[in-house]
Symmetry: C2
Subunit: 335 residues, 2 copies
C-alpha cells in the first residue's frame, strides 16, 4: 500500500533532487505526479527507471494525491496549496509562503518531528541555511542553553536555481577567456570570482537593512527552537560555489561547553557528521558535502572573546538536507 | 633630494604592486633597487618607464639604501632585515616576522602614524585582513568604545601569491571543461568553486584550534588599538576571488551607535568609503575594490541580538591597502 505523491516544480533544482531522494530512500510511491508550468508539461522525467509525463500544474492537479511536495516558489505555493488541501493532499512546502504562519508547523525532523502531527494540511520546510544551522544549534541549546548566535554564510548559487548555476559557469568561462563584458540575467553583480552580500539576488532589502534571507534565518530559527530567550543575527552571502552552503557560526551559551564537549555532543546527534581534525587539514567543505545527506561540522574552537563562546563551521548540501531531503524526511514521518 | 629604496620580493604579488604604488604616488625615489632570489636576479622590472635590473638579495644588498620595503615571506625578513638595519636602511616589513615584537611599531598610518617615530629600524605592516578591519574599528572605538568584535572573512587567493592566482585560474578552467582530477600544488583542497576555512593553506593549526591568520587578526588588532578592554574572535576563510578581501563584521559597542551614526562617522574617516544603498543594490564588492586604494564599507545595520550591536561588510584590495599601499604610506611618513 503506497501513497500518491505530487511534486510541484519537478524540473527545478530542488524538484529534480526530490525525485532522486524519493527513489534512493525507497519512499513507497504508488503514483508519482510530476507537476510543472505549461512550458515543461508534456516532457518526461525519469522515475525509478521509467518515463513519467510532466503535467501542467492546475487547480485539479491534486485529485487522488496523498502528499504534495512543493518547490516552485512562494507565489505558486500561495496559489495552489489551497487546492491541494481541498483535495485532501497534505502539503510539504519548501517555499517561504507559509513558514511563519502560526498554524503551520516548521519542521526539521531531527529537531521537532513532534510538531508534524499538528498540521492542518501544510507542513513547511525551513530555509536551506536555517536547516543546517538549527540542526546543530538544537543539541547545544538542549545541553547548555544558547544565549546568542552570530552567523555569516557562504551560500552556493544552486540556491538560486538551475539558471543561476548556468550563469555562474558561463560567467566564469567568460572571465577566464578574457572576453570583456558579460550579460547577466540572474545576479545583480558579477558572481564569478566574487562574493555578494545579498541573498536573494532580486528582492529588495527590508527597512532595517537586512535581506529577506537574513530575516528568514532569524525568524525561522526562533520558531523551530520554540524559544525567545536567545538572540541571533545573520549576514547572508552568496559565493561562487555550485552546491553546498557553508556557515561561520559563533555561539554564546549560558553554561560552559568546551570544544571537546561540543564535538562529543554533536557527534551523537542524528544527521550531524563531525569533520574536525585540523592536523590532517580535515574540515567540512562544500565540495565534499555536495551530494551527501549529512550536515558536517568542524573548526570547533572555544571563543575566548566571551564567557562561554564557541566558533564552528557548518556545511551541508543546500539542495538535499537544505531542501529535498528534509522535505522527504517530513513526508516519511507523515505516512 | 630623493631617497634610495630597496624592494625585497619585487617579483611577487605585493612587490609588483609596491612598484606601481611608488610610481603613482610620486614617491621621491632616487635609486630603486629591486631585490629577489637568484632565480629572478638578472631579469628586469619596469619602473617609471625604464628597465631596472633585479639584483639577488644578499647581506650586502642594503648598502646606500634609505628605505627597504620587505615582502618576501617571514623567513627572508628574519634573515635579511638585520643586514638592512646594519646598513642604516629603515625597514617597512610586510611579513609577520616582527609584527608582535614590543619594539616594533605596527602601523596603519590613518590609525597610529604617531608610532612611526618610535621605530628602531623596523616598522611592521599589519596583516592584510587586519588593516581593513582596524581602519574601520578605530573611529568606532574612539567614539563609543568597542566591547567585542566577531569577524568572518572572505579572502582572495592573491593573498597566497601569484602562483595561487594561477592555480585558481587553471583549476577553474579544468572543472569547467570537465577534465577530471586536477593536480594542485598550492591549496590543500579544491579552491575553485569552493571555500576553505583555512588560511594560510600550508601552516599547521595552533593548539587552540585557530589558524595563524585568525590569531594574527586578534593579536594585531589589540596591538594597533593599544587597548585590551575589548575582545575579538575571527574565522578566516579563503574564497575563489582573485583580488579583494571581504569581511562580515559584527561589533558590540559600550555606548549606542545607530546605523546612521556609524555611516556618518565612517564617511568622515580617512581612507574609508561608504557604499551603502541597498535600494540600489549598492554595497562593497571585491571586484569593485580591486585596484582601488579605499576601504569600502556597507550593509551597515543595527544588530538587535545584543544591546549595542552593529553588522557591517568591509571590503578592500588585499594587495593595496592590505599590503603595498599601506607600506608605501608608512614610508611616506618616514621621509
Amino acid at each position: 500500500m503506497g501513497v500518491n505523491v505530487a511534486v510541484v516544480g519537478v524540473t527545478g533544482a530542488v524538484g529534480t533532487e526530490m525525485l532522486r531522494v524519493l527513489e534512493r530512500r525507497d519512499f513507497p510511491v504508488d503514483e508519482l505526479r510530476p507537476l510543472a508550468s505549461s512550458r515543461s508539461a508534456g516532457k518526461n522525467i525519469i522515475f525509478r527507471g521509467k518515463e513519467v509525463l510532466i503535467q501542467e500544474l492546475t487547480a485539479d492537479s491534486f485529485e487522488g494525491m496523498n502528499i504534495g511536495l512543493f518547490s516552485a516558489g512562494g507565489g505558486i505555493s500561495r496559489k495552489f496549496v489551497p487546492y491541494a488541501i481541498e483535495a485532501n493532499c497534505v502539503v510539504v512546502d519548501n517555499t517561504s509562503a507559509f513558514r511563519m504562519d502560526k498554524d503551520v508547523p516548521l519542521v526539521i525532523p531531527e529537531v521537532n518531528a513532534n510538531r508534524i502531527a499538528e498540521h492542518k494540511g501544510i507542513i513547511a520546510n525551513p530555509n536551506c541555511s536555517t536547516i543546517q544551522l538549527v540542526l546543530v544549534l538544537k543539541p547545544i541549546h538542549d545541553a547548555v542553553k544558547i544565549k546568542r548566535v552570530v552567523v555569516s554564510t557562504y551560500q552556493a548559487v544552486s540556491g538560486a536555481g538551475l539558471k543561476a548555476l548556468e550563469e555562474l559557469k558561463k560567467e566564469s568561462q567568460h572571465i577566464l577567456s578574457d572576453k570583456g563584458e558579460f550579460n547577466r540575467n540572474i545576479f545583480p553583480h558579477q558572481m564569478a570570482f566574487n562574493v555578494l552580500p545579498q541573498i536573494p539576488q532580486s528582492d529588495a532589502f527590508l527597512p532595517n537593512g537586512y535581506t529577506d534571507e537574513e530575516m528568514k534565518m532569524i525568524n525561522e530559527t526562533r520558531k523551530i527552537l520554540e524559544d525567545s530567550s536567545f538572540s541571533i543575527t545573520t549576514t547572508t552571502v552568496r559565493v561562487p560555489v555550485f552546491r553546498g552552503h557553508s556557515e561561520s557560526v559563533n555561539i554564546e551559551t549560558r553554561e560552559k561547553l568546551s570544544a571537546d564537549q561540543a564535538r562529543d555532543l554533536l557527534s551523537k546527534a542524528e544527521g550531524i557528521v563531525i569533520l574536525d581534525d585540523p592536523s590532517r587539514q580535515l574540515y567540512p567543505l562544500a565540495t565534499d558535502a555536495a551530494g551527501k545527506d549529512g550536515t558536517f561540522v568542524g573548526r570547533i574552537r572555544e571563543d575566548e572573546s566571551v564567557e562561554n563562546g564557541l566558533n564552528m563551521w557548518i556545511v551541508s548540501d543546500n539542495l538535499l538536507k537544505g531542501a529535498a531531503l528534509n522535505a522527504v524526511q517530513i513526508a516519511e514521518k507523515l505516512i
